[in-house]
């Protein structure tokens, strides 16, 4: 639709090939049970009975915390809400979604500084920014329609800074490209803040009237003079100064970041540093001025809002907070909610490996390919008593399942989805699900009934009504309102409220309304290259595939263009190792090994390797070291060695 | 080589250059008979009016040293004349693919409707001074070598500086 405010009718390659994926013959059509002779088709009734019986079995034998629920950020708000409600009513907070692997550090980092872990401005706001600072985001490949707005800003004379270890199509759009060493983001951000503070470019009024904690930051920044930072990051000090000045002096400036910031063992600190930079310059709360963490999946924002998270109830009430629990208990008419934060997605796998989790229910996720350290994940899944996988395709994770439930894809069901810019939109079914596949909501209700849970509501519309009570920011979300126009942007507390595209215009969502400036220190990544593993391996996305690839690797036109796993290596490194373009390489880290085709390119610096994570194999290499607060794994840095095949 | 240099601060948007250009590239080279001619004579210089800033700027072929249009032309219809150093266009070779127009940084490659070929500034080979420069009433267009043009600007800047020294505003 050319009039849509976000994409204006444009589509990225994945969007263009959606129908190939949805109409693929591999779609799961019937519930399947694993037997000694392979997969056996069973009836829905039997499948749900089996699932409920196994869950009840674990519940009775080993208590509620032996159950775990891994939700999907590709499912609707209603489905995620019911999913976590089932988990919590069964007495466990072991419910999580893949946000843990992409933007958990945004929730913790922006949560403690600004009060809300979400994008502060809509994407279209970028067009009115005078300076756009992109760090750890390759939006040109991963969110192509965003580039439309950035280019529009550039046409008006905006200055675009891109900080990325690689040269990407995003850096093509940059006026200043900063090629930093992976894992040195905090040093760069602190270095920029050092310049801004020492040159007096910070916004005194904003800092005085709306923030707390500036003096601690000032102290902390003293060590980060441009020369020191230049040594850590590998960026010329003149460029650091230039970037700092451009960002601080701009009338409207936006920070755009993605997983290059979040997927680190210092992910929360990285996000905090971004927030600090915006706060000291007063670049928050106006049109074209804010922090824009770009989310990776259609409903990852919504899944978090719905409380499909181990430590948050719907609407971000902290687990353990008696007030938040009390509210839910009244709404759900129950008095038994667990007060202990549950296991996060990464901890679930670990617990399963140790035998603490008996039954795992996975919806639309492929932990074998998307979690770090695949070999451990596989071991953990084998260790489970019972694994239920609900998906649209036979993923690598589904191969380990005991029971497979075929689900409908996004275009085959109704429900609401919350996009990265907090825009909640209603989706009507356009296609029929294949075979006996059912909408996830229908499956969840069926399962809840078998589990003996008494749910009063039925259709997606009715669930949304309950959500609008449970999640204050969704208070005014009504199906009919959303269907008119292009959805509503939360917070939208009441039926007459127009929605809030820009956050933090008057005050912050912290208890006292002030934002917190929190100084953070640069720390080296958990693993650094050494003599044994001399290369630094970083991972990311390419434009032609989507996440773990279970969908995009089924589109033949996408596969034709990007058929196999490859590794980008700098030609200078390749020369010393006598590697030619197209050679098969053998990559090895402390955790595992994999094969990939060499691609010689200047896009990566010397000593750095890049691999996309859309193919099985990449995450056999990555490390499971976690961020302390957000528990996000450090996908972006691992030490690696290579040899020619 | 001499080029058409622009002094935008002098342009008042009268479009005399455009008319002079079209007349010069007509059959008769006379305004009154040119109007009735077929094919209709076309201009190769464009006065761009910017409403937001209320200014007009004449834009014409810069005869770039490393001209993108000559690089992309598949049939060598656009080429650099080795003697005059001008970017010249040979209509008989042009296939009307408009790749040149796509890559031109100034958007000054037009289309000749009847012949369906590209059309651009040729710096009036039959004249000593291009028609547009001669027609400009405010001398916003200057026909000069780059180094001479810079020379003019330098002397103007020096004049300003000297005036400043006299009034004592520069210590």
């Amino acid at each position: 639709m050319p009039e849509h405010p976000v994409n204006e009718g444009s589509l990225c390659p994945k969007g263009n090939t959606t129908l190939e994926v949805l109409n693929h013959p591999d779609r799961l059509k019937f519930p399947l049970r694993k037997t000694e002779n392979g997969w056996e088709r069973i009836e829905w009734e039997a499948a749900l009975d089996l699932a409920a019986a196994k869950m009840k079995g674990s519940l009775e034998k080993s208590g509620p915390d032996s159950l775990a629920f891994l939700g999907s950020a590709k499912c609707s708000n209603e489905e995620n809400y019911i999913f976590q409600k089932i988990a919590r009513l069964l007495g466990t907070n072991n419910v999580d979604n893949c946000a843990r692997l992409c933007h958990a550090s945004t929730l913790t980092g922006l949560g403690k500084t600004l009060g809300t872990g979400a994008m502060t401005n809509p994407i279209s706001d970028l067009a009115s920014s005078e300076c756009i600072f992109v760090i750890g985001s390759n939006f040109a490949e991963n969110h192509p329609p965003v580039s439309r707005q950035v280019l529009r800003a550039k046409e008006k004379g905006a200055f675009v800074i891109v900080a990325d270890p690689r040269i990407t199509p995003t850096s093509w759009l940059a006026d200043l490209a900063l090629r930093l060493k992976p894992g040195t983001d905090i040093a760069l951000l602190n270095g920029m803040m050092h310049v801004i503070v020492s040159e007096g470019l910070w916004d005194r009024r904003f800092v005085r009237e709306r923030t707390r904690g500036f003096s601690e930051l000032e102290q902390n920044l003293q060590r980060y003079d441009p020369e020191t930072v230049s040594r850590i990051t590998g960026i010329p000090s003149a460029d650091i100064i230039k970037a700092a000045r451009a960002y601080a002096r701009a009338g409207t400036a936006a920070i755009v970041y993605s997983m290059g910031i979040t997927q680190h063992s210092s992910g929360t600190d990285n996000v905090t540093a971004c927030a600090d930079l915006a706060l000291i310059c007063g670049h928050i709360g106006e049109k074209g001025t804010g922090i824009l963490p770009l989310r990776g999946q259609n409903n990852v924002q919504g899944a978090c809002d719905m409380g499909a998270l181990a430590e948050f109830y719907p609407g971000y009430g902290k687990v353990g907070d008696p007030e938040a629990a009390g509210r839910l208990q009244t709404l759900w008419r129950t008095d038994e909610l667990s007060e202990h934060p549950g296991k996060t997605a990464t901890e679930m796998v670990e617990a399963a490996g140790k035998g603490k989790i008996k039954t795992l229910y996975v919806i639309g996720e492929d932990p074998v390919n998307s979690h770090p350290d695949s070999s451990q994940v596989k071991k953990a899944l084998e260790n489970l008593d019972f694994l239920i996988v609900q998906d649209i395709f036979m993923t690598d994770t589904a191969e380990y399942a005991d029971l497979i439930l075929p689900a409908a894809a996004f275009a085959e069901k109704e429900g609401s989805f919350t996009s990265t810019e907090r825009r909640v939109q209603w989706v009507e079914p356009a296609l029929l699900p294949p075979g006996e596949a059912r909408a996830d909501l229908e499956i969840l209700f069926g399962l809840a009934e078998k589990l003996g849970l008494d749910f009063p509501c039925r259709g997606a519309g009715e669930v949304l009504e309950e959500i609008s009570v449970a999640v204050p920011a969704y208070g005014g979300m009504e199906k009919e309102r959303m269907k008119k126009g292009f959805g509503l942007v939360w917070p939208c507390p009441g039926p007459a409220h127009p929605g809030t595209p820009i956050l933090h215009t008057e005050s912050f969502k912290t208890p006292d309304g002030f934002a917190r400036i929190i100084p953070v220190e640069h720390r080296s990544p958990a693993e650094t290259p050494g003599p044994e593993y001399p290369f630094l391996l970083t991972t990311g996305r390419t434009v032609l595939h989507y996440n773990a690839g279970s969908m995009s690797r089924r589109s033949k036109s996408l596969l034709k263009k990007e058929p196999e796993l490859y590794v980008e290596i700098n030609p200078a490194d390749a020369r010393t190792m006598e590697i030619r373009d197209g050679n098969k390489l053998f990559l090895e880290t402390r955790r595992g090994k994999t094969e990939a085709t060499a691609r010689l390119t200047e896009r990566v610096g010397q000593g750095v390797l890049f691999m996309p994570f859309h193919f099985p194999g990449t995450n056999a290499l990555t490390a499971g070291s976690l961020d302390r607060e957000a528990k996000i794994p450090e996908f972006k840095v691992s030490a690696c060695r290579i040899r020619r095949y | 080589m001499k080029e058409v240099m622009i002094r935008p601060e002098r342009c008042m948007g009268c479009r005399s250059c455009e008319i002079a250009c079209a007349v010069e590239h007509s059959e008769s080279k006379d305004l009154f008979s040119a109007i009735g001619e077929s094919p209709v004579p076309c201009k190769r210089i464009y006065v761009e009016y910017i409403p937001d800033l209320a200014v007009a700027i004449p834009i014409t072929c810069r005869h770039c040293e490393d001209a993108p249009c000559t690089t992309v032309c598949p049939t060598k219809a656009l080429s650099r004349d080795e003697v005059s150093r001008r970017v010249i266009h040979s209509p008989e070779l042009c296939i009307g693919c408009w790749t040149c127009s796509m890559v031109c940084n100034y958007g000054v490659i037009g289309r000749q409707k009847e012949a369906r070929v590209a059309m651009k500034c040729d710096l009036c080979p039959d004249r000593e001074i291009p028609a547009c420069v001669e027609a400009c009433p405010t001398r916003a267009l200057v026909y000069a070598e780059v180094k001479d043009f810079s020379g003019i600007k330098r002397s103007q800047a020096a004049l300003k500086l000297a005036k400043g020294m006299q009034t004592g505003s520069i210590p």
Partner: protein, 158 residues
Amino acid sequence: MPEAVYADLSRCIACHACELACERENESAKIFVQVVRGLAAVPVSCRQCETPLCAAVCPGEALNYRDSRLEYDAEKCTGCRLCVLACPFGTAELRAGVVERCDLCQGKEIPACVATCPSGALFCAEAENLGEDIRTRRAERIKKALGNPEPAGRRVNR
């Protein structure tokens, strides 16, 4: 008026969406994004030439330039590949015995590649108007360079 798909090369981000949109609509892609040394990308498609070389060499009159547009008659095409040799852009392709070329998605309001382009690099234009947009932008930049001694957006510190 003859129209064609043009590209603003500074905007292309090599996302290949146009290729896939074309493939979806026309079975095989007729636009090709070429990445040059990992540092820039150029979408190449039929330029809809006004004196088309492909038509000039076609012996069977399968390709004809008539009424400001190139017409293609698949029945007359013998698959001799002369047009493929003649096309300076390599956009005429022989598939299944007949030549396939971009027809600007006949019957659609705008070609699929233009509609889908996420960065707005592709656009449909008439050759005559092509320079207009570029000229305006260039003029604005010259004016800005001359007119504003202060860098744009400089903020007075409060």
